[in-house]
Structure formats: structure tokens, C-alpha cells
């Protein structure tokens, strides 16, 4: 898509990157307000999550899985820049699969949380924060699938691969948000 990477006379920035940046800023305000709601409600209901290592083992493993998925996400850019389309494609597939493993882990975590969304305010806070993060993981997966398809169709070249970059950046963002949520919900 030439329109996305087109550089305009009065601006040296790329249109796609400016747009993604503003979307992510807006998303961040959304998560920030959810976290504010969490902070406001936390003292008002008995917070049931225990911070023992036994409880934390599984979420920690899942966190590690999501962090690791950013490596193949990055390789997708490096490979397409080097003209290695097949390797780039493989990197995206790996990211996609690791992301799905994370989601499966989240579903396991949800079903073993020991409480529901309608259990006092904390139930709502926990599942809302986690749920909206999971939705963003799905959005990242959709972005990856689009990029995968376009790589297969030969849309990208070492000169023109901006959508791959945007997809990866969005993936980084999903990982970053998870780290904040993990710290807020499990560690603090």
C-alpha cells in the first residue's frame, strides 16, 4: 500500500505510524482509566488475590510466554527488510501461535481464579482488565493474520513493509500493557 508509506512535503513522518501512535495513545488512556477504577475500588472490597509464589507460578510462566513472543514479532520486520519473505512469514506464524498459547493460558487462569465477574467489585475489576487485554491480543492476532496474507500475496518488499512494522508495534504494545496489568493485579 503506497498510500500508507507515502511521505508528504510538509512532514517527514509516515501516515501509518502517526495514526498508529495516536490510536495507541487513546488506548492507553482507556487502560489508564480502567486502572484508576481499580485503584479507587481496591481498598473498598477485600482483595482476594494472594501473592504467594505458588499462586504466581502460572501467571509468571504465561508472562514469560508473551514476552518471548515479541522476539519472532521483531524478526518479522528484520526478515522482510532483508528480503527474506518466507522467513518473515514463519516469524509471523510463530508469533501468532505463541500468542494463542498465551490466550489459552489466560483462559485456564480465568477458570481457576476462584471467583467470577459478579463477585463483589474485585471480580469485575479483574475480569474487565484481563478481558480487555485479551481482546487486544485478539486484535494483534487479526493484524498478524492480515500481514501474513499480504506477505503471501507478495505485497511487501524490503522497500515497502510498513504494515509489518505497524503490526509488530501493536504487538509490542499488547505485551507492554500486559506487563503493567500483571504488575498492578498480581504483584502490588
Amino acid at each position: 500500500m503506497s498510500t500508507l508509506s507515502q511521505v508528504h512535503p510538509m512532514s517527514r513522518l509516515s501516515t501509518g505510524k502517526v495514526a498508529l501512535f495516536i490510536i495507541l495513545v487513546s488506548e492507553s488512556v482507556f487502560f489508564a482509566t480502567l486502572l484508576v477504577a481499580y485503584a479507587a475500588l481496591r481498598d473498598q472490597s477485600n482483595w482476594p488475590m494472594d501473592h504467594s509464589l505458588q499462586r504466581l507460578t502460572f501467571p509468571l510462566i504465561n508472562t514469560a510466554i508473551l514476552i518471548l513472543s515479541s522476539i519472532p514479532a521483531r524478526n518479522a520486520i528484520i526478515n522482510i527488510r532483508a528480503g527474506k519473505q518466507t522467513l518473515s512469514l514463519t516469524s509471523m506464524v510463530v508469533t501468532l501461535i505463541v500468542g494463542l498459547v498465551f490466550v489459552a493460558g489466560q483462559i485456564y487462569e480465568f477458570s481457576h481464579a476462584g471467583f467470577h465477574i459478579n463477585d463483589q467489585a474485585f471480580g469485575g475489576v479483574f475480569f474487565t482488565l484481563m478481558g480487555f487485554h485479551a481482546l487486544h491480543v485478539f486484535a494483534g492476532e487479526v493484524f498478524l493474520i492480515l500481514n501474513l496474507t499480504r506477505t503471501k500475496l507478495g505485497d511487501f518488499s524490503p522497500q515497502n513493509y510498513e504494515a509489518v512494522e505497524l503490526g509488530t508495534w501493536f504487538w509490542y504494545y499488547v505485551v507492554g500493557v500486559w506487563l503493567v496489568l500483571f504488575a498492578a493485579l498480581y504483584l502490588i
Binding site: V25, T33, V36
Partner: protein, 548 residues
């Protein structure tokens, strides 16, 4: 303009009856016009609701509306005017004008632009369908929890409201991202940020306000939806929730929202006053900085809507002081307009009248705002008609006057013919007198303690006369609206004159034909100052020659 482009112009844009091309359009000008027309219809709906309320309140003990219907009507009046009328009217001008003013061929993402419009239209129809599907939302436009919880609002009205707000938030967010990206990326050569028209700056700041504030509203309504539909307890104090949480989340959006509504109108006025004063905008840089300052400060004052909730004194003082602070940049805008008018060659056309009306009425509304920022006074006046008066001086006397100024000013560009000046002036005076008849007595009623949102009142409190005057004023405004509609149809039935530059304007939209071709400019203009068209018309006095 080349003859080729002119030939294309005759065949291409705005062929009536070609509905499909309007539905499929991704042209920013057509989307802008769709926004304006749709929003005007919602403005009429909101106006009819206001008129029904005024009829109900004309005398004590009236039975025009039932109490339940009255609640639905005032909720939908507020929701309609804010989300379905004023915001999209401003978005319509933004869509039409921003690309033209910065010398671009279209918005950065034309399809996203169309998606934004159609989402808005759907959300509006969706919300209004609730009247026929078990009752409209009835908890007021700020929908305080826990009143909005299932227990107290068992109909689906609130669910319609929540889903509608989510859709509108989505539409506004993608629209705003589109504005920001367009303004950053698509400016014509030479159109630096410091040369952008004030209206474009206003839209730019507005778009940032929307992108930063709407997520807070999204969070609030999502949590409410989870409470209502999934049994969560965010706003249920008994289960560890918080009722105040709603107010904080809502007003963190709600106050920037006020500036989302008013800044585009300020931008319009900052275009109209210079042209009809024959002078450049006084202290352009100060105006731009003031708009940015209003944008920043707008995020720091939300709790002044919550003075009566029992906050700590230091919090009260902070939010009161901060609210006073906003008067400073607003004052900068005022003095800039005054200094622009000063010793200008004034032309009192209809757009100019509406802009001057904006300035005076908004000033009254702003001063009311200062009164309400004084905490003890707010404790006395909160939830009375004083607050209703304040918001209407700001949003009717302000935003709506600014928007009508824009409609009269840019109509020749959009339609290729002017709106009638005589009827236009009648429209202005009916609006100006009508609004003061409606909203000035509300100050008195507020001071006398008449609460807002009551559907009737007992006689003998001294409220009858003012309520009657207000209802008469509402009729005067309604006549003004009818005059506008008549004027519109008379003007549109006349032969098009297609003047390029109807008002001897300064900015790039007057450089192309009226209405402009789909591609806006046959040749992308290059810009050397803040008044590119003035430079072209007066090469000896060009602005860029005066600058160092």
C-alpha cells in the same frame, strides 16, 4: 482554475437524485455535508424536545408530558444536542473545511471518514429507536450511577444509551484520529503549523481532546454495561463498588467535552471576524497558544462538576482555582477578536452578526461559569436552573451561534449560492432575542432555588412569570429556526452563481470553485503566509512581504 477542471465540475459533484453516489461517497466534502444535514435533523429533534419541556413548564401543574416521558425527553434533549447535533455539526465543518484550508485533496483516510459518519448515523437512529422499544433513557445526559443501575432503571432505555454512546465514541475517535493525521501529514507546501488557519488549529486541538477524553467515557459506560448485564458491582457500594467512580470517569470526559463543543465554534468565529473586519486575526500566535492552553486545562478541572459530593477542602480549592485559570486563555481569545474588530472596515453580514452574537453570549456564559466555580456559590446553585442557564449561554449562545455563523459563511462555498441576507438577519435577531428570553430568566429561577429536571412546580413561588417568559422565548427561537429553513429552501431554489470567493476571504477554500471539484484544487497551492488568498489578491501588500 483550468477549463478542464471547470468542465469536470459541471458534470461531477452534487448531481441531485444520484443517491447512491452519496451513500458510497468517500469525498470529505460530501461526508461533511452529510454530517451537517444529519446533525441538523437531530438538532431539530433536540429542539422539539426542548420545546415540549418548555410547554410543560409554561404554567404550574401542566400536563403536556407525563413525569416519566418528561424524564425521557430531557435526557434525550441533552444527549441529542451534545452528541448528535453540536459535535457532528462541528465535525461536518471540520470534514468539509480542513482539507480545503490546508490545501489537501482529501482526508488522510477517506474510507475511515465514511465509516465514522455512518456509525454516527446508525448510533443516532439506534438511540431514538428506544422511544418505540420500551422507553428512552431517562436518567439525564450524565446518567449518574447508581440511579442508572438495573435496580433503579429497569427499562432498556439505559442500555440503548450505553450502546449508543459506545458507538458514538468510536465514531468520534476514528474521526478525530483522521483529523490529526490529516493536519500533520497533508498540509500543502509552505503551510507550516504557524500558518494554519485558526479554524484548523481549533479542530486540531479538539481532535486531541476527543482522543484523550473519550476513552474515559468508554470506560465508564462499559463498566455500567457490565454492572447491568453481567452482574458486576463497579458502582454498587454495598458490594465494594463506588458511586463516585462514575462521576469521576464521566466528568474526566465531560469537561473536555465542553471544549470539544466550543472550540470548533471559536475557530469559526476566528475565521469570520477577521474577514468581515478586513484585517488579519490579531495576535494569531496568542490565539493558538490560548486554544492549546484551553485544551490542557480542560483536563484538569473535571471535579468542579462534583463540588457537592463532599470532597476535601484542598481538592475543592484546587479545582476552583484551576477553573478560574481557564478564564485566562479564554480571555485571550476575546481580546484577540475585539482587537481584530478595532478600527477594522466592518461589514455587518449575517455570518458576522452570528459571530458577534457568539462573542457576547459566550461572554455571559463564561462569567456564569466563574460564578459556579466559587465553591460556596456552587453549593447553593448546583442542580438549579442557574446551571441550565450557564450551559445554554455557552452551548446555545456559544456553540450554536458559532455554527450558524459558519453555515452562513461557508454556504456559498458548499452550495454555490448565498443564503438570503434579509432572512438571515431576521433569523439572527429571532435567535438572539429568543435565547435571552429563555435563558436569562433562568438565572433568576436558579437563584430562587428552582431545581433543574423537575417536571412541574407548585404555584405561588414566584416562578410562574419567568417560566412563561421562557416558554415564549422558546417559541421565538423556534420561529428563528423556521426562518432559517425557509431561507435555506429559497436560496437553494435560486440559480447558482458559483462565486469562488463570496466574501473576499483570506484562506485557501476560497481559491477553488464553489462547490469545489472532487479533487479540490487543480494544482496544489503553495503557501507563503497565514493569508494565502490575500497575498494572491494583493501582491503588493502580501503578508509574506511584511514578515521578516
Amino acid at each position: 482554475m483550468t477549463t478542464q477542471a471547470q468542465a469536470k465540475l459541471k458534470t461531477e459533484p452534487y448531481a441531485l437524485g444520484d443517491f447512491l453516489s452519496w451513500i458510497m461517497t468517500v469525498d470529505h466534502k460530501r461526508i461533511g455535508i452529510l454530517y451537517l444535514i444529519t446533525a441538523f435533523f437531530f438538532f431539530l429533534f433536540g429542539g422539539i424536545e426542548a420545546f415540549l419541556m418548555r410547554l410543560q413548564l409554561a404554567q404550574p401543574g401542566n400536563k403536556v408530558l407525563s413525569p416519566d416521558l418528561y424524564n425521557q425527553v430531557f435526557t434525550m434533549h441533552g444527549t441529542t444536542m451534545i452528541f448528535l447535533a453540536v459535535m457532528p455539526l462541528a465535525a461536518g465543518f471540520g470534514n468539509y473545511l480542513v482539507p480545503l484550508m490546508i490545501g489537501a485533496r482529501d482526508m488522510a483516510f477517506p474510507k475511515l471518514n465514511a465509516l465514522s459518519y455512518w456509525t454516527y448515523l446508525f448510533a443516532g437512529c439506534f438511540m431514538y429507536s428506544s422511544f418505540f422499544l420500551g422507553g428512552a433513557p431517562n436518567d439525564g445526559w450524565f446518567s449518574y450511577a447508581p440511579l442508572t443501575e438495573n435496580l433503579y432503571s429497569p427499562t432498556h432505555g439505559m442500555d440503548f444509551w450505553i450502546m449508543g454512546i459506545l458507538l458514538l465514541g468510536f465514531a468520534t475517535t476514528i474521526g478525530s484520529i483522521n483529523f490529526i493525521v490529516t493536519i500533520i501529514q497533508l498540509r500543502a507546501p509552505g503551510m507550516t503549523l504557524t500558518r494554519m488557519p485558526a479554524f484548523v488549529w481549533a479542530q486540531f486541538v479538539t481532535a486531541f481532546l476527543a482522543v484523550f477524553s473519550i476513552p474515559s467515557l468508554t470506560t465508564a459506560v462499559l463498566l455500567l454495561l457490565l454492572d447491568r448485564q453481567m452482574g458486576a458491582h463497579f458502582f454498587n457500594v454495598a458490594q465494594g463498588g463506588s458511586a463516585l467512580l462514575w462521576q469521576h470517569l464521566f466528568w474526566f470526559f465531560g469537561h473536555p467535552e465542553v471544549y470539544i463543543l466550543i472550540l470548533p465554534a471559536m475557530g469559526i468565529v476566528s475565521e469570520v471576524i477577521p474577514v468581515f473586519s478586513g484585517k488579519p486575526l490579531f495576535a494569531y500566535a496568542a490565539v493558538v497558544y490560548a486554544m492549546i492552553a484551553i485544551g490542557f486545562l480542560g483536563f484538569t478541572v473535571w471535579a468542579h462538576h462534583m463540588f457537592a459530593t463532599g470532597m476535601p477542602t484542598t481538592t475543592l480549592l484546587f479545582f476552583a482555582g484551576d477553573t478560574f485559570l481557564i478564564s485566562a486563555p479564554t480571555g485571550v481569545l476575546f481580546f484577540s477578536w475585539l482587537a481584530t474588530i478595532w478600527k477594522g472596515q466592518l461589514r455587518f453580514t449575517t455570518p458576522m452578526l452570528f459571530s458577534l452574537g457568539f462573542a457576547t453570549m459566550f461572554l455571559i456564559g463564561g462569567l456564569d461559569g466563574v460564578h459556579l466555580a466559587v465553591v460556596p456559590m456552587d453549593w447553593q446553585l448546583t442542580d438549579t436552573y442557574y446551571v441550565v442557564s450557564h450551559i445554554h449561554y455557552v452551548l446555545f449562545g456559544g456553540a450554536i451561534f458559532g455554527i450558524f455563523s459558519g453555515i452562513y459563511y461557508w454556504f456559498p462555498k458548499m452550495a454555490g449560492r448565498r443564503l438570503g441576507e434579509t432572512l438571515g438577519k431576521w433569523h439572527f435577531w429571532f435567535f438572539f432575542i429568543g435565547m435571552n428570553l429563555v435563558f436569562m430568566p433562568m438565572h433568576i429561577l436558579g437563584l430562587e432555588g428552582m431545581p433543574r429536571r423537575i417536571y412541574t412546580y407548585a404555584s405561588g413561588r414566584g416562578w410562574e412569570i419567568w417560566n412563561l417568559v421562557e416558554t415564549i422565548g422558546a417559541g421565538v427561537i423556534a420561529i428563528g429556526v423556521l426562518i432559517f429553513i425557509v431561507n435555506f429552501f429559497i436560496s437553494i431554489s435560486k440559480k447558482a452563481t458559483n462565486e469562488e470567493d463570496a466574501w473576499d476571504g483570506f484562506t485557501l477554500e476560497w481559491k477553488t470553485s464553489s462547490p469545489p471539484p472532487a479533487y479540490n484544487f487543480a494544482e496544489i497551492p503553495s503557501v507563503r503566509s497565514r493569508r494565502p488568498l490575500w497575498d494572491e489578491k494583493h501582491p503588493d501588500l502580501a503578508d509574506w512581504k511584511m514578515e521578516k
